[in-house]
């Protein structure tokens, strides 16, 4: 086999040529086409150490980072404790701030009440609706604006004027526009997350490698298939960046809206605690907002990782 000699010096694409020659000799013979597993991924595994060492490595790395994270949290709470205990009062006043243990007691008490959970659920529902509507409309509009020049010329200038208006500035207008408090809060949450999602989708669509579009068209793809099966997946990494940013802004907008015009919800809870002089509840409200926001961002990252398995292959830091 001359081709086999030819190919020997090249260790990458193993015995492709000989396989091919074999196949040319006897058509439809599929039996002998067993190829060795990829050298590409194999080279990444350290030789000798095996699975066990990788596993222990992973643990030591992650225990280290967990310890560091806990350290910073402990220092934060420690400073808070000391500042309250010694009634720190030098321009910044800790005189009215509840101590960490008081907050803990209050959390235990609140966790036995229903309204506490109701407030959380109501906020989450508002996020889900406002953000959900923003996801669908932002991605659809972003695909259209990114793909079609005429649509871009028609819509983009107007959207660029609306974009710099912060969601909080929409609060009075939203209260006038929408029939219920609930719908105006959802609207404000939507407005906050819509623009980051729209813009990153447009960016994703306009930066799709043109050769991919050509390849798809030369394989017979027409416009609808091109949009759904080529442009959308190609833009997904950018879209998920927009979703992460959008989720952050959605929470900012939601809390502001709840504080100003709300009934129920965790933002309302926090503001109400201030009015009712229940200072521990202010801290609890803030902590809950922090954790809910964190959970929502984590959920988006998870969906991104599941939805874009190919991106994980090269580190997956994009989503």
């Amino acid at each position: 086999m001359r081709t086999a000699e030819l190919i020997n010096f090249h260790e990458g694409p193993n015995d492709a040529a000989s396989v091919l020659e074999h196949a040319t000799e006897s058509a439809n013979d599929q039996g002998g086409t067993i190829v060795k597993p990829p050298t590409v991924s194999a080279s990444k595994v350290s030789p000798g150490g095996g699975v066990w060492r990788n596993l222990t490595d992973w643990f030591t790395r992650n225990i280290g980072s967990a310890l560091l994270a806990l350290t910073s949290i402990a220092i934060f709470i420690g400073l808070w404790y000391l500042a309250v205990k010694y009634r720190f009062d030098f321009y910044v006043r800790f005189t009215n701030i509840p101590a960490p243990l008081d907050v803990l007691d209050e959390i235990v008490r609140l966790s036995k009440t229903d309204t506490f959970y109701e407030n959380m659920l109501i906020s989450l529902r508002r996020i889900l609706m406002g953000f959900g509507i923003a996801v669908v409309s932002g991605i659809v509009l972003g695909l259209i604006i990114g793909r079609y020049q005429r649509a871009r010329q028609l819509m983009f200038p107007m959207l660029e004027i609306l974009r710099p208006i912060p969601a909080i500035a929409w609060v009075p207008m939203a209260i006038m526009l929408w029939p219920t408090n609930e719908s105006s809060i959802v609207f404000i949450t939507f407005i906050g997350s819509f623009f980051p999602i729209l813009l990153s989708t447009v960016h994703g669509v306009t930066s799709v490698d043109p050769v991919l579009i050509r390849a798809a068209r030369s394989l017979g793809a027409k416009e609808p298939a091109l949009l759904r099966q080529v442009i959308l997946p190609a833009a997904l990494p950018d879209i998920f960046n927009g979703l992460s940013v959008g989720m952050g802004v959605a929470w900012v907008s939601l809390i502001a809206a709840e504080m100003i015009s709300g009934q129920f919800g965790i933002g309302y809870f926090t503001w109400e605690a201030y009015s009712l002089i229940q200072y521990s509840d202010i801290v609890i409200g803030m902590i809950v907002i922090g954790f809910l926001g964190l959970a929502c961002s984590a959920a988006i990252r998870l969906v991104g990782r599941l939805g874009m398995p190919w991106a994980n292959q090269r580190g997956g830091n994009k989503a």
Binding site: R2, T3, L6, I7, F9, H10, G12, P13, N14, D15, A16, A17, V19, L20, E21, A23, T24, A27, Q30, T33, I34, V35, K36, P37, P38, V40, S41, D209, V211, L212, R214, A215, A216, R217, S218, L219, G220, A221, K222, A225, Q229, V230, P233, A234, L236, M308, P309, W310, Q313, R314
Partner: protein, 284 residues
């Protein structure tokens, strides 16, 4: 697959870009014939419009005048009956290797089981079956380009259009890929229009080589390659091969200098050299 399809006729093709004073003539009065099952290369210096020519046949670029017919049908736009292999890697990164190969069949509305079977057969032939569930990012350059070829073949095109497909590969991989391509081509018996600036590559692969001039691209020469099939690496040192290489080299060298003549003339003038009316070619 029979060799009755895959006839390409290009008649008096002109391609111009832009309007008025800014108009650029990319391709001028090109006539090319590809017989069914023939492997034809277009060889030319960079920037001579050979990729433009291929893109016209692929249906991506509109011709200014002339006709391009594949099996008697005028080319109107891109289509799966003309498979395309690009110079850059053009695999869909979000699809596994097998899904990439299935894409054309999916666009034709073929059922999943049929697509899978076809893709796996083709991947087996290219020695890539073990990688069917890998993502393109995990493959080497040569493997990616093999998947690209297999993907273009999946829809059983009449003609395969290849735009310097091995240009981005290292020299060793390129030699292997050329061997794989001739084997594939012999098996599938389809026509190939292959763009390259590599003289050896064009001789090794082709039945016929068209040499293009510097911009605007015209056909300067049409050289038949009488080497027997199947082609093997040893042939590259045979006297016939050497002679063809010499012939093509002379044809191309002139055009390469013409292609960058303006810059070269200025540069050489700076060294106190005299350049006559024929340009730098006479200095060499």
């Amino acid at each position: 697959m029979s060799a009755e399809k895959g006839k390409v006729e290009i008649r008096n093709l002109d391609v111009r870009f832009g309007w008025g004073a800014n108009q650029v003539e990319a391709v001028s009065d090109v006539n090319i014939d590809i017989k069914p099952g023939e492997f034809v290369s277009i060889l030319g210096p960079s920037g001579c419009g050979k990729s433009t020519l291929l893109n016209v046949v692929a249906g991506f670029v509109k011709r200014t005048s002339g006709t391009v017919q594949v099996d008697g049908a005028e080319v109107q736009g891109p289509g799966a009956e003309r498979g395309m292999v690009f110079q850059q890697y053009s695999l869909f990164p979000w699809m596994t290797v097998r899904k990439n190969v299935e894409f054309g069949l999916k666009m034709q509305g073929r059922p999943r089981s049929e697509r899978e079977a076809a893709a796996r057969t083709l991947l087996g032939l290219a020695g890539l079956l073990a990688f069917e569930n890998h993502y393109p990012e995990q493959l080497s350059g040569g493997m990616k380009q093999r998947v690209g070829i297999v993907r273009a073949l999946a829809t059983s095109p009449q003609v395969l259009l290849m735009d310097e497909p091995f240009g981005a590969l290292d020299a060793q991989t390129r030699v292997v890929m050329q061997q794989i391509l001739t084997n594939m081509w012999q098996r599938f018996r389809l026509s190939v229009l292959f763009i390259t600036h590599d003289i050896d590559e064009s001789i090794f692969l082709s039945d016929k080589v068209y040499v293009m001039t510097a911009r605007p691209g015209r056909i300067k020469a049409e050289i038949e390659v009488p080497l027997p099939r199947p082609r093997v690496a040893e042939m590259t040192t045979s006297p016939e091969f050497m002679q063809l290489r010499q012939q093509l080299h002379e044809l191309i060298r002139e055009e390469s200098f013409k292609a960058m003549g303006g810059d070269l003339k200025e540069g050489m003038g700076g060294f106190g050299m005299e350049v006559g009316p024929q340009g730098v070619a006479e200095l060499i």
